[in-house]
Symmetry: C2
Subunit: 138 residues, 2 copies
């Protein structure tokens, strides 16, 4: 299989594949004419990379999974190094979520304060008419 076909089958681009090879993440054999030659297993590795990328893993973080598969293990996460990456990522996610929640609370506070301030300003500049006034006009 050549680079274009692999890219299409994995839903990515040839540029990405060349980049992965440059990183040593997904090296390719070469055909006689210099073209990269991939096998079915490379598709497997590539799918693993893509899945982890969808989870927000950096490419370097996918390396243990890929190497685990290449070492012949049944799954990319059959190796301790991969499990360690999972653990680190979970901690990272927890921290990130907590931080975002904190920011959300603070921004919401600012927003509400600003809206109240605006309403009070509007009220002082142009006091709202009372119910009686509306009733009399009708």
């Amino acid at each position: 299989m050549r680079i274009g076909e692999l890219a299409e089958r994995a839903g990515t681009t040839t540029r990405a594949l060349r980049y992965y090879e440059e990183l040593g993440l997904l090296p390719a054999r070469r055909a006689g004419n210099g073209y990269r030659a991939y096998g079915e297993e490379d598709l497997r590795l590539l799918r693993e990379i893509r899945m982890l990328q969808d989870f927000g893993f950096g490419l370097e973080e996918t390396r243990p999974f890929v190497e685990c598969l290449r070492a012949g293990h049944p799954e990319g996460d059959s190796c301790p190094a991969s499990l360690e990456v999972y653990r680190r990522k979970l901690a990272e996610l927890d921290e990130c979520i907590a931080r975002l929640r904190d920011v959300r609370v603070r921004v919401a506070g600012q927003f509400e304060r600003a809206v109240r301030a605006r309403d009070e300003l509007a009220a002082s500049e142009q006091p709202p008419e009372c119910e009686l006034a509306r009733e009399q006009r009708e």
Copy 2:
């Protein structure tokens, strides 16, 4: 006030201030010798920028707040444009938190599955000794 003093008073660097000026976010008057000259109000603007940055706002997102202050309003968020940025940011935060939570659930699922698979493999390769065996050895 010159750039170094303003930077120190706001807890940032001269480099950042020149960058803000380059963006047109915090323009400075010039003294006769070409040095940037800032006033107390610039410190106010800068503090607003820094606060929003701490919330994770991009510099462009702080622009409405800064312009609102420069327009003479009491707070950076006294203007509708600023409130709109708050709203957008809150929505963005909610979406981001939801996405991270979803990823967390999925990664946790993968992790647990991988750990179970590893344990089962270990169990089949080396079955755990039963209670009786331990008792007899003691």
